[in-house]
């Protein structure tokens, strides 16, 4: 198996899908000649040219809308937001148009479109550039929401998202682009949307983590094993919507204790949803209330020490596990 960074795995997925289906095109700011602000689209413009890989003006609402119309007319747009923060300008096209088109047209027009880009914090990019927005989009029926945390997941899920016939919110994480992992060589390697992955097996406590917090959770699990001989299972839902709650419930029924780690703010978060669904489905199995680790309830600060204090961390996850395990 090849070892790739998440960045290159995404790049490979895009390239393969561009090759496979000529209705796939990529549009966004700096995706073409500049090779992508974060180099996810590196080399694609050179290979596929102006028709398939298109630099857009800074016009998020406009090019998201263009993508929706193009998808209704049979293309399969991959729209890059330079970061998800800027997608808020395009939210009307995502929420009021892409998400509702199939339903309000009584099934006439589906919208096979992928909106993708980095989500969450980077390194000290401050309040307006550091938001994890999955809760905002996951609240709206009609959108799928995908958040990979490894190179293989990134590739397999992106390919599935492009092939999906619905609007998909595909959220990467800038600080994870350089993370390496094994990726199957098969060109038709895909990972179905809606299937969680047990990233680490364990018996005493479940951590449900996604994106940014998955590597943290894995590290926390190792440390906890060493220090307390407590066996932690780490589950990554990978797709937030549809959510594979069954895999989570199976784990909870085994471990009886849960920590949810997420980079977003906590209020009405995806973590809150998972927590509620755990209560609904495994109430009698819980030995302690579900505990969340989220980003502090403040806009993200710039100063490095403040930013670190705001974000979830290995230590914070360890503390939460200790709490639910009454250690």
């Amino acid at each position: 198996m090849q070892v790739l960074t998440i960045r290159d795995a995404l790049n490979q997925a895009l390239r393969e899908e561009l090759l496979r289906d000529e209705n796939v095109f990529i549009m966004g700011e700096e995706v073409a000649e500049y090779d992508g602000a974060y180099k996810v689209t590196r080399g694609l413009w050179k290979e596929f040219g102006d028709k398939r890989v298109i630099d857009s003006p800074i016009t998020e609402l406009g090019f998201a809308g263009l993508g929706v119309g193009a998808a209704m007319a049979g293309l399969r747009p991959v729209i890059e937001f330079m970061t998800w923060n800027f997608s808020i300008l395009a939210a009307d096209q995502i929420i009021n148009h892409a998400a509702k088109m199939l339903y309000m047209s009584g099934g006439e027009f589906n919208v096979p479109i992928v909106f993708r880009g980095p989500n969450g914090s980077a390194y000290q990019v401050s309040s307006q550039h550091s938001q994890a927005l999955e809760a905002m989009y996951a609240n709206f029926p009609g959108l799928k929401v995908v958040m990979p945390s490894s190179a293989a997941d990134a590739k397999g899920l992106l390919k599935s998202s492009i092939r999906d016939n619905n609007p998909v919110i595909f959220m990467e994480q800038e600080t994870m682009y350089g993370m390496k992992g094994e990726v199957p060589d098969d060109e038709d390697f895909t990972i179905p949307l809606g299937v969680a992955d047990v990233k680490r097996e364990g018996t005493d406590c479940t951590i449900v983590a996604r994106s940014f917090t998955v590597p943290q959770a894995l590290q926390a699990a190792e440390k906890i094993k060493e220090e307390f001989d407590v066996s932690v299972e780490v589950i990554d839902p990978r797709t937030i919507k549809p959510l594979d709650i069954d895999t989570i419930i199976t784990s909870v029924k085994k471990t009886n204790r849960v920590v949810i780690a997420e980079e977003s703010h906590s209020f009405a978060s995806v973590g809150a949803e998972i927590s509620h669904q755990i209560m609904e489905n495994a109430f009698d199995y819980l030995d302690a209330p579900v505990k969340r680790v989220s980003t502090a309830e403040a806009p993200n600060p710039y100063a490095r020490n403040l930013e670190l204090a705001a974000l979830p961390s290995v230590d914070k996850i360890i503390a939460a596990v200790k709490e639910v395990c009454y250690l």
Partner: protein, 375 residues
């Protein structure tokens, strides 16, 4: 909860011309396009009649008949919508197109079948011109299973993939972005099809108008942007919402071909659209058309219409697009009063058939509540 409390179903009760409702008028005296219309209405009517005759002579008679039929059908159908809305048969909003029929007919009937159309919530008539049946539209208004989108969309959301009718959109301006993407796809696929994208003059103030026109011109997308300037966005006249009056001119900010068209003149709309189509089919060049007409009815069925006078409406009705077209057809000796009456009867029959169909169509099964969320 009391429906009546929040939905005023009053008929149009415009304030009389004399009474100002307020001492506190905007300092900015609104440029009143009506005043102009008054003086020139008659003269314009005659002049338009002459120019229409010239156009009519160049046009196929079957097409002319179909154009008139579609205008009359739109009118008759929607007058009936207003009636059944007041009877509580139709829910939600209901935005009528009465007075603007020449725009939809003049432009959409200049297309070929494979071209695309989309518009705002004021979509019943455009949907029918593009081929959705009166039954499909009316039953959709009734929220019945037989509606063109099965009762899920309602008045604002008519669609048909087969017929190339892309909606029916409720967010003011939203369809301008979507339409730009449809034209993008047409070019991408190597067709020489075009997209007609309709929107009201108030939608021009939305950012997406600006973002879309820039992209369309930059990339030469075959989109024909048709601004239906009916003078009001709900209760706000153009002059109170837009810093200049000439919307066509806004095309120049993008280097886009643009034209001002009299939207009461179906043949003028047709020729302007044909010119735009030619540009678009050739190399994808987009066009901005400002087509000025007038909305006779309230913004929606719940609009009491206090922001304009009965006189203002009447003056515009003197230049009614159907009347004008009929006069011209008569003068050009292409059709007779008798044929007009026949067309009217056909339209009434089609409408009544649609009503009957809608009354009889069942409500959608509750089983479909959760279908069509994902494909």
């Amino acid at each position: 909860m009391p429906k009546a409390a929040t939905r005023q179903k009053a008929e149009i009760k415009p304030r009389s011309a004399k009474t100002s409702t307020n001492g506190n008028r905007s300092k900015k005296a609104p440029v009143n396009p009506t005043e102009l219309a008054v003086e020139t209405a008659k003269a314009e009517f005659e002049q338009r009649k002459r120019s229409q005759q010239a156009e009519i002579k160049k046009t196929d008679k079957t097409l002319l008949r179909e154009m008139l039929y579609q205008m009359v059908l739109g009118r008759v159908f929607e007058e009936r919508c207003a009636e059944v809305y007041r009877m509580g048969k139709i829910g939600g909003f209901c935005h009528l197109y009465i007075g603007q029929e020449a725009i939809g007919v003049g432009s959409i009937m200049a297309l070929r079948e494979s071209d695309y159309v989309l518009t705002s919530y004021r979509d019943h008539v455009q949907a029918m011109i593009k081929g959705i049946t009166p039954e499909g539209v009316m039953a959709e208004l009734y929220g019945k299973e037989g509606g063109c989108v099965g009762g899920k969309g309602g008045s604002m959301h008519m669609f048909s993939k087969e017929l190339g009718f892309f909606g029916g959109h409720g967010i003011v301006g939203g369809q301008i972005g979507v339409g730009t993407g449809m034209a993008f796809a047409q070019k991408y696929k190597g067709t020489d099809d075009v997209t007609l994208c309709f929107f009201g003059e108030a939608a021009v103030n939305q950012g997406i108008f600006h973002e879309s026109l820039n992209m369309a011109q930059l990339w030469k997308l075959p989109c024909i942007y048709i601004c239906e300037n009916n003078r009001y966005g709900m209760g706000t006249s153009q002059a109170r919402a837009m810093s200049i009056s000439n919307i066509a001119k806004k095309g120049e900010s993008y280097g886009m071909a643009n034209e001002f068209v009299d939207g009461m003149d179906v043949m003028a709309v047709r020729s302007a659209t044909l010119r735009a189509i030619e540009r678009a089919r050739k190399d994808g060049s987009p066009t901005l058309l400002e087509v000025r007409a007038y909305r006779y009815m309230g913004h929606s069925m719940s609009d009491p219409g206090n922001y304009r006078t009965r006189d203002e409406i009447k003056k515009h009705q003197e230049r009614d697009p159907i009347l004008l077209f009929q006069e011209s057809l008569k003068a050009a000796k292409v059709m007779t009063e008798k044929e007009f009456e026949k067309i009217r009867q056909e339209a009434i029959e089609a409408t009544e058939k649609a009503i009957k169909f809608s009354e009889e169509s069942p409500f959608p099964s509750e089983d479909v509540l959760l279908t069509d969320v994902f494909a």
